[in-house]
Structures are given as C-alpha cells and as structure tokens.
C-alpha cells in the first residue's frame, strides 16, 4: 500500500491511483464525444476530404509514360538531350510497344500515354496510335522504321517530353495552368500569347467576384436594413422575396433571365418602347459579362442579406438614438455607430458571396456567353469535354488554395471569429 502511494502519487478513497482513475473517467467522456462526432467525421472524410485529396493527387499524378515505356526510359538515360536518340532507344520503344499490345486491353498503357503526350505536343497521340498498330511488322533498324511510321518520331521535342515526363509525378499540369510551358532547354517560359488563358481567367474571376460582391452589398444592405426595422410579419414577407431565387429551379430562373434580358427581351423592348434607346441600340444584357453579373448578383443576394439581416436585427435601435441624442447627425450616427456594428454581417456575407462566386459555374455557362466565363467553367470543360483531368485538378487545386489564402487574409484582417453566418 505504501509502495503504491509513493510510486504513483495521489490515490482515490479506495486506493486507486488518482491519475488512472481520472483517465478512466475521461476516457468514457472522450468515447462519447467521438461517438457523437464520428459519423459526421466519417461522412466528411468520405465525401469531402477524400475526393479533394484525390483531386490534388491527380494534379501531379503521372503514371502513363512510366508504365507504358519503362525500357525506353531506361535507354533514354544515355541520351544527351540533343538531336534524336540512337537506335537502342528506338529498339527499346518497339519492345515496349509490343509488350504493351500483349497485355489485356484494360491494362494497356500505350493509348493513355498518347492522350497524355498530346497535352504537351500536338500530334503525339496520332504518332503513338499509328505506330503501335504497325510495330509488329517493324524490323531493325528500328529508328528508320519509326521515322517512316510517323514524322513526330523525328521531332526532338517529343523525346525531350518523354524524358522530362517519364516519371511518376509531374508539375506540367501546374505549368500549363499558369499559362507556361517548358522550352527546349527545359526552362519554364510563358506560352505563346494566343494560348494563354488561365491567368487572365483567374484575374477575371476575381474581378467579377469583386463586382458581384460589391453589388450584392450595395443592394443587400438597404434591404437588410429595411427588413430589420420592420415588424416580423412584414420582414418575413420581404425575406421570402429575397429567398425566392433559392426556391426556384435553375431552369425556370434561367428561362426568366432570358425572357427579361435578351436583346428582344422585356427590358430591351420596354426601353425601346419608352424611347430610351433606338431599335438598333438594344443593350446586350446577357451572353456576356453583364449577364453573369446580373444573374449571379441575383442568386447570391440572399447570402449577403441573411447574415446582414441577422446582425442588424440584433442591433438595438437605442444605439442610433443614443448617437443622435449625443449630437450626431443621422449620417454621422450611421457611419460611426450603426455601420461599424454591421461589420460582422458584412464580413460574413462578403466571404460567402465572394467564395461562392469564385467557384460558380452553371450560371456563367448559361447566361455568361464568353466574356462572362469564369475559371470554374474552364475546369468543368476539362472535366467533361476535353477530359484533361490532370489540368482540371491543377486548376481546381489552385482555386482551392486561392480561396484558403483569401480566408486566411480575411481572418488576419477582420478575425474569423467575428463572422456571423446566420
């Protein structure tokens, strides 16, 4: 008994070491907490963390070349990077292609390597496809046979790409996502001017989101203020009007925008009828940047109004009265007292609107035309049409990092704990 006391410090009334007893008590509590949080955690892991991780992995994952032509890559190590490689490399390539053709179709890599190489060099896919169909008939010297089969095998650039991208991880998707490419010496340089897209698209996305943020604020602030001064039932009625876009199906919403905004639409017809503009000066309100801005401001307005309203609702009217009784003119009272108190709501609404609009894609695709496109449209295009998932993943990861940086900056400037989301 004495030993126990000295070795483990305090004991409980029945002689158990206090620490162990405490641990046991705590363990139950921790298990309960885990049981409560566990399902959500698992859910998030499966549907959120895991896919995001997979996306980020895909933006650097580069298995096609390594798996398709291991022998060639080994032979290429001897190559000095100048001109064309020598016969052993071509021989190894022929062997790789024949070996690949032996594999069951699902395990073949040659077709996938063709697709992968075509991102870097136009025509590479055709070279692979045509050559791999003919390679069975090839006879040494292979170098000549390859050069005959497709002109690209005589293009040193293709070999440089094979050497550079012949490893399991790649940065090339990020290089492309930044409108850059490798030059013949392997340095990263800006692309031809007429192939640069993404950087300016990122910039436009930020600018559009900023404009939308400003508009939702300019429109939402007075509405939220007015609602906060109304009795509950009128406020609820107004709230329904604000929330209406949430409850309307995208199709209905889009159709009504078209009816309203197009050149032969309601707004233009009214403007012509009232002689504001002549018939050939009709406004272009959709299929361009204006369309995206109008539609997204409409959709995102509730995200600004709701936090603002909930903050304003909780600002007692006595603050404004106090300010006025202390001699402040109404505008001064608003500026110095009321407005600063709405900042948490503005911050929350602003972060929501900005982050959502950065990632929005359906609306711009439908009413934004070309000048109203955002980076997400490009990501969606690579996911669904061009099927360059690596590039889509790189763009998506950059967008994600951008949003995180914005949130971090917001947190540093304003403090995330002041966010009032509802």
């Amino acid at each position: 008994m004495d030993d126990q006391t000295t070795s483990s410090g305090l004991v409980t009334a029945d002689g158990q070491p206090l620490k162990r007893s405490l641990q046991r008590a705590e363990r139950t509590r921790k298990l309960t907490a885990l049981a409560l949080v566990g399902p959500l955690l698992a859910f998030l892991l499966v549907i959120f963390i895991f896919p995001i991780g997979q996306m980020m992995w895909r933006s650097v994952d580069n298995p096609q070349i390594v798996n398709a032509i291991p022998r060639t890559l080994e032979a290429l190590q001897e190559w000095d990077g100048e001109g064309l490689p020598d016969e052993p490399v071509y021989a190894a390539l022929a062997e790789d292609m024949r070996a690949d053709a032996e594999l069951p179709r699902r395990e073949q890599w040659m077709g996938r390597m063709g697709v992968r190489l075509n991102y870097e060099l136009s025509g590479a896919r055709g070279a692979i496809a045509r050559t791999s169909r003919a390679v069975d008939e090839f006879e040494p010297p292979f170098k000549e046979a390859f050069l005959d089969a497709h002109r690209n095998w005589g293009n040193p650039e293709l070999w440089q790409i094979l050497e550079r991208e012949g490893r399991p991880l790649t940065a090339s998707y990020y290089v492309a996502a930044l409108d850059r490419e490798y030059d013949s010496e392997g340095k990263i340089v800006l692309r031809d001017e007429n192939r640069r897209i993404y950087v300016s698209l990122f910039g436009r996305t930020l600018a559009l989101s900023g404009i939308i943020l400003f508009l939702t604020f300019a429109l939402g602030f007075p509405i939220a203020f007015y609602m906060s001064t109304l009795p509950m039932r009128y406020a609820n009625l107004l709230m329904i009007c604000v929330l209406l876009p949430f409850w309307t199906s995208l199709l209905v919403r889009t159709t009504s925008w078209i009816v309203l905004l197009q050149q032969q639409g309601v707004i233009n017809n009214a403007a012509v009828a009232m002689n504001f503009i002549s018939d050939d000066q009709r406004y272009s309100l959709m299929y361009n940047m204006q369309g995206t801005i109008i539609a997204m401001t409409h959709i995102l307005l509730p995200f600004m109004v709701l936090p603002l309203y909930s903050v304003m609702k909780n600002i007692p009217p006595s603050y404004m009265r106090a300010a006025k009784s202390l001699g402040a003119k109404p505008w001064t009272a608003f500026r110095r007292v009321y407005f600063p108190l709405t900042l948490p709501g503005i911050g929350a609404g602003g972060v929501l609107v900005f982050i959502i609009s950065i990632g929005y894609y359906i609306t711009p695709a439908l009413v934004g035309g070309q000048s109203g496109r955002m980076i997400s449209n490009e990501i969606a295009r690579h996911m669904q049409q061009s099927l360059n998932w690596g590039l889509a993943a790189a763009l998506g990861s950059m967008l994600l990092v951008g949003v995180l940086i914005l949130y971090w900056a917001y947190n540093r400037l304003v403090g995330a704990d002041s966010l009032k989301l509802g």
Binding site: P104, R105, R106, E107, Q108, M110, G111, R112, G114, V115, N118, Y119, S122, G123, A124, R125, G126, A129, N194, R195, R196, I197, S200, L201, R204, I258, Q262, Q263, Q264, Y287, A365, L366, G369, Q370, S371, R373, E378, R381, M383, Q384, Q385, S386, L387, N388
Partner: protein, 368 residues
C-alpha cells in the same frame, strides 16, 4: 433469327467470359445512355419500344448522359461498378475509350445483321464509319441555319461565305463555343477547297488564317454551349444565323414551324453510334438488342422521327415519311444528294491530334 443471334452471342460470351445463356424469362433492366430530347425519343420509338414488345422481360431505361459519356465511362470503369449497358457516343470519344479498354471491341460481321440482300454488315455500313469498338447508327451534320425573316427576300444567305459577310448579311451569329466546325468553316469561307481544309489547318499559318477569318465577325458572335440553345436563339430573334445540329434545326423548322432555312453548303458531317461498356452486367442481352436495333429496317425507321441519316447504305431506300407530320424525310436527310453537294466530313484523327492545342487557342481567342 434467334439461332443466328445466339451464334453471334457466342463471340461476345467468349470475350466477356460470361457463363450460361440468358433465360428468356429472367427480367432484365437495360440502361441505355443517349443524348436526350428528340433524339432519345426517336430511339425509343424506332428501337426500344419494338424490342421491348418482342422481349417482354426486358425493360430499357434511358439515361441522358451522352454529353459526358467518356467521363462517365472512365469513372465507372475506375470505380469497378459499370451501370451503363449501352452508350450512344461520338466516334472520336469512342476511339479514346477503345484505346483505354473500357468499351468492348466489336466484330461487326459476327455481331451485326447483314443487309437484306446478304451484304455483310462491314460492307453495308457507310465507308469509314465503323470503328474498332464503334457501331455507327446515324449520320448527322452541323449546319448553318438562318432565320429567313431577318433578311429581305431577295437577299437571303445561302452559303458559308455569307456567314462571314456581315456587310451584306448583318445580324448576330450564334456559333458553338469550340474550335471544331468553326475553324473548318473559316477556311472554307476563305477559299480553301474542302479536301484541303485539314491539311491547311495542320499548319500554324493555316490556324492563323482561320482565326483571322473568325476575327472579321467576332463582335457579331453569340456563343452557344448546349445543343438546344442554337434554335432557341434563332427563334427568339437574338441572332440571324446559328450553327446547329441538323436534327434540332429540322425539329424547330418543321415540327415547331419556325421560319428557319437550313444552308447545306459546307455541312460538317459526322457519325454517331453505339458502344458497349466492358464488364457490363447484361452484355448478352445488349448484343441481342444491338443485332436488332442496327439492322437495315430499324435504322430506316429512326428517320421517321428525326432527320438524321441512317448509317447503312441499305437503309436509304427504306426511309419514308415522318411518323407524325407525314412529310417525306428524304429531302431533310444530310445524306440526300441534293443536300450533300459540299459536305465537310469531320476528321476525327485530326482533332485527336490537334484538338488539345486548338481548344486552348480557341478559348484564348474567345476571351480576348
């Protein structure tokens, strides 16, 4: 008929290592992926309904996923859970999927019905249309269409050249938001002979020339993304010209009575057809369905509902009248000799090689 089907199925069964033979009374649900809208409707009436009538145990479920068919096939193959039984897709995507091994190779003569006169399938289908894993179904074309109310009667546009002539033919133009078709037309309108278009486009100078031509009408362009947008824009009077799929334009002008005129000059012709996902659950049934749905009469039947041309030579004489409107469908087919006077056959090999680069260039051009 039935015995022959079973013989054909032998090959499929061997490839897929599926044991046993389908019992006629086991209920089967077959998911068929297609483009939706009027197109799926035409397949429903020409293929699905008669097939289900003959095979009461089969239920065909339509899925409108063809716009993203390749992405869907890849995702299902990766997840190891193939839920699509049959997919309608474009030959270019089919070639990619075939290279990746996620769809089944097709032995056309063994698996498909010969023509009524005994011509084997591989010779009956139009030249160049068959793919390693691809069974063509229709010929469709992307055509220029005008709203004739927007032009005076004596100055109606009739050629692709007029699309690029904003001075004499004013009005906005709705073009698809991708390089394919637009670049071909730009060169065609700029005087490049049809047979040289892809050779010219394979050179940097050719690409510059095409974009320079597009630049001349750029400020008059409204871009469309979804197939339904083009006839809509044209009908609303938002644009004077629109490019679009000939079937949709036919539906808008003939079925809905819109004031549209199709300009067959420079129509861009492509196939569309079936592929069979590898590792599907109902492969035997799917092959039985395909034997039925791609025979001469069935392909001719589809033309009763939509103005896409059958992919079999033997079907052409059987094309009759529209099932609801009663009008002759022949004159509305892209392949009708009166319409087929200056076709540009879409070169999938070219787009497989240059598509990535040109798409970037086109996206950049649109953003400028």
């Amino acid at each position: 008929m039935k015995t022959r089907t079973m013989t054909a199925l032998g090959a499929a069964a061997a490839i897929m290592a599926v044991g046993g033979v389908v019992k006629a009374d086991d209920p089967v649900n077959m998911t068929v992926v297609s483009w939706g809208g009027a197109y799926t409707e035409s397949q429903q009436r020409a293929y699905h309904d008669p097939y289900m009538e003959a095979n009461p145990h089969v239920t065909i479920i339509n899925d409108d996923g063809s716009a993203n068919a390749l992405a869907g096939l890849r995702a299902q193959a990766q997840a190891g859970n193939v839920t699509w039984d049959l997919v309608d897709m474009l030959p270019s995507d089919a070639q990619l999927a075939c290279d990746e091994g996620i769809i089944m190779p097709i032995d056309h003569d063994a698996m498909l019905a010969p023509a009524p006169d005994g011509t084997p399938a591989s010779e009956d289908f139009l030249p160049g249309s068959l793919g390693e894993c691809f069974i063509p179904q229709i010929v469709y074309s992307t055509v220029l269409t005008v709203n004739h109310e927007q032009f005076p009667d004596d100055k109606q546009p009739t050629t692709i050249e007029h699309l690029f002539d904003v001075e004499n033919y004013p009005g906005r133009r709705a073009l698809q938001d991708r390089p394919g078709t637009n670049l071909e037309w730009a060169l065609y309108a700029d005087g490049v002979p049809i047979e040289d278009i892809y050779d010219v486009l394979a050179t940097p100078e050719g690409v510059d020339r095409a974009f320079a031509k597009l630049d001349t009408i750029k400020e008059h362009i409204v871009f469309w993304t979804e197939g339904a947008q083009a006839p809509q824009l044209l009908a609303d009077g938002e644009v004077a010209f629109a490019t679009g799929y000939n079937g949709r334009m036919f539906a808008a002008s003939e079925v809905e009575g819109q004031p549209f005129d199709i300009i067959w000059d420079g129509q861009i012709v492509e196939w569309d057809g079936w592929v069979v996902p590898a590792d599907g659950e109902n492969v035997d049934q799917v092959m039985d369905y395909l034997y039925f749905a791609t025979d001469t009469q069935r392909l001719a039947d589809q033309a009763k509902y939509i103005s896409y041309g059958p992919a079999r030579a033997s079907s052409a004489p059987l094309v009759s009248t529209h099932a609801d409107l009663g009008i002759e469908m022949g004159p509305h087919m892209p392949t009708n000799p009166d319409n087929y006077y200056a076709p540009i056959v879409l070169n999938n090999d070219f787009w497989a090689d240059y598509g990535d680069e040109l798409r970037e260039r086109f996206a950049n051009w649109m953003l400028q």
